[in-house]
Subunit: 434 residues, 2 copies
Amino acid sequence: MKIVDMRIHSIAIADPPLRSSYGLHAPYALRTILELESDDGVIGISETYGGEVPALSLEAIRLNVVGQDPYRLTGLLSSMVEGEGAGIDRSQTYLVPGENPLDQTTRTYAAIEVGCLDLIGKSVGRPVCDLIGGRVRDRIPFSAYPFFKHAGGGGEGDDLRGDEYGEVLTPEALVGEVKQMIDKYGFSSIKFKGGVLEPDLEIEAIKLLHQELGAEIPLRIDPNSAWTVDTSVRVGKALAKELSGGGYLEDPTAGLDNMAEVRKQLMAEGITTPLATNVAVTSFADIPRSLELDAVQIILCDHHYWGGMRQVRHLANLCKVFGIGLSMHSNSHLGVSLMAMAHVAAATPHLTYACDTHYPWQSEIDEVVAGGRVKIADGCVRIPDKPGLGVELDYDQLARGRQRYEKCPYRKRDDEAQMRKCIDPRWKRMLPRW
Amino acid sequence: MKIVDMRIHSIAIADPPLRSSYGLHAPYALRTILELESDDGVIGISETYGGEVPALSLEAIRLNVVGQDPYRLTGLLSSMVEGEGAGIDRSQTYLVPGENPLDQTTRTYAAIEVGCLDLIGKSVGRPVCDLIGGRVRDRIPFSAYPFFKHAGGGGEGDDLRGDEYGEVLTPEALVGEVKQMIDKYGFSSIKFKGGVLEPDLEIEAIKLLHQELGAEIPLRIDPNSAWTVDTSVRVGKALAKELSGGGYLEDPTAGLDNMAEVRKQLMAEGITTPLATNVAVTSFADIPRSLELDAVQIILCDHHYWGGMRQVRHLANLCKVFGIGLSMHSNSHLGVSLMAMAHVAAATPHLTYACDTHYPWQSEIDEVVAGGRVKIADGCVRIPDKPGLGVELDYDQLARGRQRYEKCPYRKRDDEAQMRKCIDPRWKRMLPRW
């Protein structure tokens, strides 16, 4: 089996005006859909970050991909994920995910790896999770992922989308948003994107969620490094009860040293709430120092930027060895990414938390998966009894995604610019803000 | 595809009277050959430690194996390798490899995993290395593995084998043995099994090897923990030049604390010779403390007891992250194990040393691989363009191995008993001896 064609589709998908410490989500999120076609006509697919650089980076290795055997390609390209050494600071604390030039290589590799695994799976009639070690679970739990948001459902002009959740800029509205999500998807854990309102309001939001949903629903808050060490400690103390029982405090503050200081101060008060991260530790090179400092007790893996599914498996094993928890990070994405996340989660014994997903924020109109959106029921994605990732492309939908991309005036994610454009012309991301 | 039969073959293979700090190799080494047959008649094979316990341990999970899909079985059984936590002392310093009850579970899992991978590879026409991430090399370098030995080629009674190397109990004879091995197999690195003669004689042996073979041949010495810290440091100092340039000092002394002390004292003298181990660190649970102490700079992986090929891939990744080198351990084995070692090595980018192998000590007469012994040329095993492990069983040879096993009076490896029987009735393994 040889790969005879590689097709790179840059698409845009409507995204609601979600807020975070990065700023504001633009009306469209950018994604890249990759197709690898074999000489016997089987097509492997994957989805990754969008815009110019991810597409160009894939294009740049076309000659290393086309003509190769998908079983061997991941070995041939392995220097793309093996090259990195310890001690290189790969932090993306100051960059939105997908815009960190230091992980472009591992992101490119991951897109190819997933495409190869889907191609292999489809070729031999096997789900991807059973190619990478074998599933340990069939149903993958995901978290509700509530955001503060302005009114609007994403899209622009004559492509404006409905606004399922309305404006959500108060703790009460946030609770309403979460209840809507739970009703619709059955989530049984919640990851709340903070770093937007005053910390006291976000403390209030978590307390309200805890009160309304009960202690059996684990709660996480992620202000994307918006807080000082002092604020982080203050929030950690205020929410000691609410974040216990399977919850965590994610990236309260910027950088490993500050995270370590927060941990130290909380532990000194007897507060064991674990600190999680998806920006202070984004590559294997970050891990030794993080362990040394006890800066992070949970790593959010993401096959998209950690270098693919097998690298996530390595990461999970490493985390287990050092007693570090493992959760999963997400970005705005469609069903191909969701299924890849589900497959790697299915084959990862040491995945100790429900995975994040932005999927509920995207809509059927943008889905490129044939047959429509992947179902999330009881908060879980089920591994279907289908080969590969278990999904195929709807080429009409893909074409519409490409058209949206063509019309879209930007080629990378810039939440800060969007914030200035729509909300406050003088807005700047500040770390720490509070 | 379902596994419809599992066949466990206990065999004995002739083994020459090799010496180590464990004692003396008995006339036969014990191995287990596993067959997993699928409903479409494909047979996956693997080889593991021999004797009663390994065979019984495999037998004990028969009901979890037969009826299962080989793609999924590794996931279903994953708790066998995922169960171990940090902090459990799994050292086999005081036990011969294969006789550590604490890694029986991972050894059993490994045998099943390799059998499944061979079955899958043979079913889809793909080499195993390309199923576990894709090969990064086609030719796997192995080391010459000289031992001090008594006269004799192994076997007993009317099954006595020829003695290719004769008695080797002096530094000069050892050099002759190595030259013979290099002439025959083309090895370009040497791992010398010490811990047998006075340390000064072993120092002399290494110096002679260095002098006769030149600095471009990396040299390792492994006394299997036979030395005190002081002796280890003394040898490390005496051989500072000879073990530099890709060589190492393997398990000079017993336990992580002593290893760490040797390292510290050598480093204080400016001697950077890395310390390697296959007994102080034999599982993931041993690693955090080893890192903390800087006790070990090179780990010898071995899929047979680390829990299979994918666990070795995880180990390799972890070693890379922490700047630890990776080599490969070996025991007396036949061609099935050799090919499994070669496949996992082929798919492991961070394998930083030539692998150990006892293979030259075994003979064509005992080989169960159809077509005869696997070729080692220019010191390397080449990954053949064949599915699975690239080897099939010769059932007549296998039957002869089973007959030898039946005749063999022992059911586990006991080098100490053999030493007492043949050389010195009062001999005891002593750590440290010198």
